[in-house]
């Protein structure tokens, strides 16, 4: 049985969503612990989220 590529794309998007959720949650934790470092944490969070987002979009276009 052939699995359509769109199912794979969906799986990757679920993974990317979980990843970005984890990054966001961890950044919240970190900011709550050290509010004075929030600027640096936000920058690092955005970069990591952007990298994962790239994979998600690549999956969407591959499908």
């Amino acid at each position: 049985m052939e699995i359509p590529t769109i199912v794979g794309a969906g799986l990757i998007v679920i993974g990317a969503g979980l990843g970005i959720g984890r990054i966001g949650g961890s950044a919240m934790d970190a900011i709550a612990r050290q509010p004075e470092a929030s600027g640096k944490i936000q920058t690092a969070m955005l970069i990591a989220a952007a990298l994962i987002e790239g994979i998600g979009f690549a999956a969407l276009f591959a499908s």
């Binding site: 600027g39 920058t43 955005l46 970069i47 952007a50 990298l51 987002e53 790239g54 994979i55 979009f57 690549a58 969407l60 276009f61």
Partner: protein, 376 residues
């Protein structure tokens, strides 16, 4: 009730935020006509113009996402009149062929110039004969396509933004000399952003020593992407940064600058990774080499997909108005489109920031000095 301490500023901000709401509200049709047309169309078979509301909205969105050879503000459904203006078509086909896009009549007719016939098919120009036949194979025309150097709608957008940036930032630079080192004029509004890019993006990522030679590129690319993203949210209906050719060119520039300004440590880390066992070096070299290509590729995809997805979602939500045809649909669509427009302004800034940030990160990686020897 006090909404804001600064009423004028609040009103202006609200008006600007509402601008995207009126941008794509074109595909209006009355119900009775559509129903009869659907029945008529089904009898006629395929290859007809889409007439039901859903496929009309889909066709409208697809048309918006492509570059256009003429500048159309809106189309009157009843009379078929296009409000807008024509743009010059420049083709390289046995010499330079220049004529106005009005000859195409918005893709409905074959254009004749210097004895050659051209036809517009999904915003691509093909050579054809006097009757305008296209030989199709697997849905794609196989006719010869001349090299298209036209001033299209996207090119108009890019030229406009380039001119705006030139005027704004030369004004800003000159005002420092005239006004004792204090910025003045319209460019003053962008001074904090310029400083932000220098202090928060360039210096931490590239380093105090070599950041200056990259500043011109980083500033240009940031404001270029930012202004074009914002232009995409105005009612003019531009889609420049949501075009993969544009983002590919921008990513290629970042790749070329990284490659040609990198020092020997960068190349050593790619081809002969220090501090790992020799067999591993042979495995790591192709992976690292592939990585240098994947980095600009992901830059290209990220910007393109974000802006494209934003446009599609925003237009689909506005399209709900014409599908529901009741007060619920309009209210829902208005509220969602308003919220999404605000989000899109954030995305416009964020994507420009991410592109600049990652470019700076790659330049910094190419210029790293050989310091943490024992860390490997």
């Amino acid at each position: 009730m006090v909404i804001s301490n600064k009423p004028l500023r609040f009103i202006v901000a609200t008006l600007i935020a509402c601008l995207p709401l009126i941008s794509f509200a074109n595909p209006e049709v009355d119900t009775v006509k559509v129903k009869t047309e659907v029945a008529h169309d089904a009898a006629e078979g395929a290859h007809a113009e889409p007439t039901d509301v859903k496929s009309k909205i889909k066709a409208f969105i697809n048309h918006h996402l492509l570059d256009a050879h003429d500048f159309t503000f809106n189309v009157d459904e009843a009379t078929g009149v296009h409000n807008g203006f024509s743009l010059p078509i420049i083709l390289w086909d046995n010499g330079l062929q220049v004529f106005s896009s009005s000859k195409f009549h918005h893709g409905e007719e074959t254009a004749e110039h210097n004895g050659n016939f051209y036809v517009l098919h999904h915003e691509k120009i093909y050579k054809t004969d006097a009757s305008g036949t296209l030989i199709e194979e697997h849905g794609h025309p196989t006719n010869a396509a001349p090299l298209d150097l036209s001033i299209t709608k996207s090119v108009i957008g890019i030229l406009g933004i380039a001119l705006l940036m030139f005027v704004l930032f030369t004004g800003l630079a000159k005002s420092y000399g005239k006004n004792n080192g204090i910025a003045s004029g319209a460019g003053r509004f962008f001074e904090p952003l310029v400083l932000y890019i220098r202090d928060e993006i360039a210096i931490p990522n590239i380093g105090e020593k070599g950041y200056k030679k990259y500043m011109s590129y980083l500033l240009t690319i940031f404001f270029f992407i930012f202004f074009l993203n914002i232009l995409g949210l105005t009612p003019l209906g531009f889609n420049v940064t949501g075009n993969i050719a544009i983002t590919a060119s921008l990513a290629l520039l970042t790749y070329l600058i990284t490659t040609f300004t990198a020092n020997k440590n960068y190349w050593a880390h790619i081809f002969w990774m220090p501090g790992v066992p020799t067999p591993m070096k042979f495995i790591l070299a192709p992976i690292e080499l592939l990585g240098t290509i994947i980095k600009p590729f992901s830059l290209m995809i990220r910007l393109y997909a974000n802006i494209l997805a934003g446009h599609v979602v925003l237009m689909s939500i506005i399209g709900l108005m014409f599908i529901f045809k009741s007060w619920i649909g309009s209210t829902l669509s208005f509220g969602l489109a308003f919220a999404l427009s605000i989000l899109e302004i954030l995305v416009a800034f964020l994507q420009a920031y991410i592109f600049t940030m990652l470019s700076a990160l790659y330049f910094g990686a190419g210029n790293e000095e050989h310091h943490h020897e024992e860390a490997h």
